[in-house]
Amino acid sequence: MTRIVVVTSGKGGVGKTTTSASFSAGLAMRGFKTAVIDFDVGLRNLDLIMGCERRVVYDFVNVIQGEASLNQALIKDKNLENLFILPASQTRDKDALSQEGVEKVINDLKDMGFDYIVCDSPAGIETGALLAAYFADDAIVVTNPEVSSVRDSDRILGILASKSKRAVEGLEPVQEFLLLTRYNPKRVNDGEMLSLKDIEDILRIKLIGVVPESETVLQASNQGLPAIHIKGADAAEAYTDIVARYLGEEKPLRFVEYTKPGLIKRLLGGK
C-alpha cells in the first residue's frame, strides 16, 4: 500500500522543503521506493534543495496536461537509487493544478509501486496547498517556535480536518504529526522561545521530532544535498530519528536540552 504524506505548515520559510527533502531521502535510505512532489507551482525550490535543478526537463504541470509522461518527468535522485523527484513548473501559475490531474498522477505513482509519496506543500492556503493536502494519509506539520508559525499551523490543522479527502469522504482522519524546526534549547531555557511543551499544549498533536537550529541546514542547501546526508550533524541525526519514529520506532528526543558549556569549553571558545 502506498502512503501519501503531506509536508505542510501554512507559514512560509519554516522548513517545509528542507523537511520534504530530508524526510523523503530518509525513507529511501530505509529501502522504500519514494517519490517527492513539489506542489509550489511558480516558485519551485525542491529541485535546488535536492540538487537536481539542472536535470529538470519536464515538470508536474506538463504531466497533468499530458505534455509529458510521468516517467519522463520523474528525476532519479543522484544519491539514492529508489528516490524520485517530481519538480513543480516554474513558469505556469498555481491554477495549472487540478484535483483530477493530481489524482491521476498519484494513482499512476501508486501503480508504479511507490511505497511513499511525499507532497511538499507551498505556503499559504490556496490551490497548491489545498491540493497537496487533499490526498494525504499523514501530515507533517512543520512549525517554528514562534507565534505566527504556531497560529498558521493551527489553521492548517483545521483545513486537514475539514477539507482533506479523508475528511470529505468521512474516512479515518489524516494522521497529524508536529515537527518543530529551528529549535534553540538555549533560548527556550532563557525563556525567550516557546518550548516544545508549550507548542504541544497549544496544537495538541503528536510530536514526531525536533530539528535544532543549525548551520548545517544552510550548508546542505548551499550544496543541493538534503540535510540528512550531512554525517554527524545534529540536524541530520534529528531527521534520521524523525524517519525512524514515522516508521513506528521508539527514539528518545535529542537536541532539546540546553547544557551549559563547561569552563574548559568556554575557555577554548567552543559553542
Binding site: E146, V147, V150, G191, M193, I202
Partner: protein, 87 residues
Amino acid sequence: MSFLSFLLGQKKTSASVAKERLQIILAHERTGGSADTPDYLPQLQQELVAVISKYVKVDPNDIKVNLERQDSLEVLEVKIEIQQDQP
C-alpha cells in the same frame, strides 16, 4: 510565575507571554472559524419563519437572527416582529 519571583519583581518571560497570547487567539479562532457568522444562521432563520408562520402571520424579513460574541460569551439573538392586523 512563582511567589518568589513576584516578590523579586521579575518579569514574565517573553515565551510565556507568547504562549498566553496564542492560547487566547486560537481558542477564539477555533470556535469561530474564519467567518464571523456560522453557516447555519440562514437556515435557522428560514426554519423559524416556517414554524412561526404556521401560527401567526409574519413577514420573513421581520425575523432576524444574530450571533454575538464577547470574549467567552456567545449570545444568539432572535428578533421577531409580529405585524398588527390591518383594519
